[in-house]
Symmetry: C2
């Protein structure tokens, strides 16, 4: 059965090859016809409109988002992950990956070839940037218009299954970034079928989540989410910019989604995770439903990024203004959000709400030093390593990987990739391409960037520059960074204190002058010298075994002497009486 | 390092072979000495007491609970479950297993030989009855006195590891029953070491959880729990009779345990479950900590057992009085607890508290038709199948396995084992043995049982009678029951509606006369005729595909005709418009 929702249409036809077949009107605004054989191309014709439109729920768009859909048979793929019982988010390290620029090939199959690198690094989840179908070949993926389809240049739906399968066979879970807050500017035919849209965001039309007919629009979102998890064996979803979802209903879409995903998790008998990107600093998102929350698994924490970024770069422009002190970093490490019902200068208002750190575990917040946005939305897409010393970067990586939060690494960060990661798109429509190009340049011109300095997002060279260069890994300087990340991740796995999610047990000591920070995690201490001189960093208990040091650290009686821009992770000597088990 | 807590002793010595070594006093009441080589027998001598006592944290008691401990090296076992990422409780089916009577051999290694039967049946977790060390060879395990040791007649610590390893390689998780509410009546030397005890239960001394020195006593419990999960790779614990834990602290032991287990789960990067046996009908146990609960994974639900039992047996004695109507069964299926702030006649008071079924998922409650207590604590340990028709048993099994709760099966139930499961123990001390024997008989004499009718718990023949007889599985009548359980479990896996944890979506229709019940689970209906005549059971929507029937069911237009004591699970015909995904 092939079905499509078009509640206010008088006639819907199914086009297969040169033939049009009338569809029969069912209940609730749905139209039905017999399904074609798998692999058959098809499209819908609405009333008298001559344009054949792709299926809003199409799984396969071999000829792009404007072309016909191809009927896809989920049952044809032979999965190899039968022994997979899922992967839990608590304790995990995430790795954000953009398929198009992860490898020279830019496909999911090419990415499979590099999975052993991730096993070696020690990450638990890959978080795939959006793979839904968008217009053009290259792009970040947030301009998706056919949310159910897998972008054909990445390999289409079967390639996604092969990728997930290959990850599972290596013990790696896969999260997928999905964008429910808007549709891309090209190919969004959804509005032709029914009242899918209601208002718009700066990026494109947004969904009708609470107007008339919105029950079915919400199902479009919910079924999409469930389909990835069930049919593609994904282990969770990253929900893009949930602050841009407009939903005034008593049960917010996110809570409804969390409840449905929990039910699916019970059906599939494996854990499923929902991770929200949110600008709201609202702990409600990750609070259990019985406590009045939405019950999501985790949410991104930009505040901690901003603190870390401002600390190592010294940047204070724009929203970094509020975050540029070690006291702010310490407060955010302890309290999750810096803005927690407090003044946010760039918002011009108070923002956020405190997290109950005695009861909400730290792993419900994703922490990162870099991510696709924080790198790619800089004028030239320069990574931190382009301007920050290896020593300071090591300190920041150590803070990240010794924190009680869920750490995420952006692809290439683990070897301080020399390649930038820039903003790119490839809209075939030239006027849209021009608009995107000039919009980008205007945005940065306002901050003093010359036109020639900002890469042209439509230039294929911009994508090419953004591709990881794997040969770098053989170079000693890059290899050293990789070894440091790998060592930190191994220690995070080996030492229970480092994954302890009880944020209220974390103690942070800082001194702005000369610039050091100590994280106390149970019986471990991470001491960082962020300044340019050797200093004696005080430690509350006698230093013991050194687990990892980025330079020659000399533990003393109640302090450790650290060279400029270096860290040490060490055990302190406590009483023995709890160590016999 | 070998350490022991004995805070009020003046002298503690370590006996190895014929030699006594002084131990040095450390902080917090702990005593320390160098550890012997693995495999060395040792004991402690306290002050002038000439008795060498076993280690309270002994992992290995090769010569029983009164003998010396043997130093055990966890690192020596080579695990084979590296690919195991854990198993989540939601959606799972549990199988309660008593090692001593599961097989003729009565050991963990012998149990491994039968694991493929469990794979065939389709269960997700084995719930092992207690394996901690207790006095005597045979017993249920609830009289443990060395909580850290694995009962030697079961094979000792290495055998438990082999068992867990073998389960994991088959995709089966393992929960272990642990008893923290009391110690057994023989071999409880704990009180010699320190103020471990405070009061007692009817079964033996209970722990000091909130008196002076109780910090360390709580650690004894917490470290025990964490040790099973970490060192033995267990996937969770079943906490015996938590209503008998006496803890007046602001943070209840169970909440503290749940928080520590969550931290360990993040360290081990696999889900860990805590399942409480509780008589309290208090949803706080399984409510999230941020909602003021303890945050346990699940709790047993006796009310549902009592309803099912009373329904199929007609028994109304004792506590079954309140539960013996189809209305009570329907109310319990819908509300989790029958006693939810309502009158409990056998308690002579109101009892329990309602569950917020709109927010607390059903999988947090374990449901069962039989378990070790409900069978074994009957005078003759007779299983339901000894007195209830196969037809009614099938109906009850279907209700259990189509419910939104976590179903648990008691070993042998899946083929209606002809063997009873009786109360047995084997205390070597003859006066204790006499006391247990006469106590048991007196208990049942009060209910009209003659002395000769109640099996002697100390008679080895009682254990022998309680062993499963695996040859039964080849007999057609038993095989038919097994096939029914297996089919129900397969349907539970295949049909998302059956594991849907949203209890508030469950609708139950009943008619006391002539005695039928319908469970509405999404698009499925389970119709049971519990009466002795063929009846037309009304169904709210037109019956469609029959998924399973225990007898010749004839679906009509808005009803299904069911023979006496039979059930049918069928799909109903709803609108199509949600089925296209």
């Amino acid at each position: 059965m092939i079905s499509v929702w078009a509640p206010h249409r008088e006639r819907v036809r199914l086009r297969i090859g040169a033939e049009d077949h009338p569809m029969r009107r069912g209940d609730g605004g749905w139209w039905h016809a017999d399904a074609p054989r798998p692999g058959t191309d098809y499209a819908f014709l609405l009333d008298g409109d001559p344009r054949p439109l792709p299926d809003p729920r199409s799984r396969w768009q071999p000829n792009g988002v404007h072309g016909p859909s191809r009927w896809y048979d989920h049952a044809a793929y032979a999965w190899g992950d039968h022994a997979w019982t899922g992967r839990n988010l608590p304790g995990a390290v995430l790795y954000e990956l953009h398929v198009g620029t992860f490898t020279p090939g830019g496909t999911l199959d090419a990415a499979v070839e590099r999975l052993d690198h991730l096993v070696d690094l020690g990450v638990d989840f890959v978080e795939l940037m959006p793979v839904n179908a968008f217009d053009g070949t290259d792009g970040w993926g947030y301009d998706g218009v056919l949310w159910y389809a897998v972008h054909e240049p990445y390999g289409g739906p079967d390639a996604l299954k092969r990728f997930v399968d290959a990850c599972h066979r290596r013990g790696i879970g896969v999260l997928l970034d999905v964008v429910y807050n808007h549709l891309g500017p090209s190919g969004a035919y959804l509005g032709e079928f029914g009242p899918y849209f209601r208002g718009s965001t700066i990026w494109g039309p947004s969904l009708n989540l609470d107007g008339p007919d919105s029950d079915e629009v919400r199902r479009y979102v919910l079924d999409n989410a469930l389909g990835w998890l069930r049919e593609f064996h994904l282990d969770g979803l990253r929900l893009d910019a949930v602050h841009a979802l407009h939903d005034s209903r008593a049960t917010h879409l996110l809570e409804e989604l969390a409840a449905e995903v929990d039910a699916l998790s019970a059906h599939l008998r494996r854990p499923l995770s929902l991770v929200a990107e949110s600008d709201l600093n609202d702990p409600r998102l990750v609070t259990a439903r019985e406590a009045g929350g939405y019950g999501l698994t985790a949410q991104w924490n930009d505040d901690l990024h901003h603190c870390l970024h401002a600390t190592v770069t010294g940047e204070r422009q724009g929203y970094y203004a509020d975050f540029g002190s070690l006291d702010a970093l310490a407060a955010t490490l302890r309290g999750v959000f810096l803005h927690a019902g407090t003044w946010s200068s760039f918002r011009g208002r108070t923002h956020g709400r405190p997290v109950d750190t005695a009861r909400i575990p730290g792993h419900r917040f994703v922490a990162f030093l870099q991510n696709h946005d924080q790198v790619g939305n800089r004028a030239t897409g320069d990574r931190l390593s382009a301007s920050v010393s290896p020593g300071l970067l090591g300190c920041a990586a150590a803070i990240l990987l010794c924190s009680p939060y869920t750490p995420m690494i952006f692809m290439g960060e683990e070897w301080a990739a020399g390649t930038p990661w820039q903003f790119f798109a490839s809209f075939p429509d030239s006027s849209l391409a021009d608009a995107v190009r000039s919009g980008r340049r205007a945005e940065f011109a306002a901050h003093g960037w010359g036109e020639a300095e900002v890469p042209d997002p439509m230039d294929p060279a911009t994508v090419a520059r953004s591709r990881l260069c794997w040969d770098e890994l053989a170079e000693p300087a890059h290899r050293a960074v990789f070894d440091l990340y790998r060592a930190l991740i191994r220690l995070r796995r080996a030492e229970p204190d480092l994954t302890d999610p009880r944020v209220d047990r974390l103690v942070v000591d800082v001194a702005t002058e000369p610039g050091w920070l100590v994280l106390r995690r149970g019986g471990l201490r991470l001491a960082c010298n962020l300044g340019r001189e050797t200093v004696d960093v005080p430690v509350d208990l006698p230093p013991g075994e050194v687990l990892l040091a980025s330079a020659q650290a000399r533990p003393g009686e109640r302090a450790v002497t650290l060279p400029a821009e270096s860290f040490v992770l060490l055990r302190v000597n406590r009483e023995m009486f709890h160590s016999c088990e």
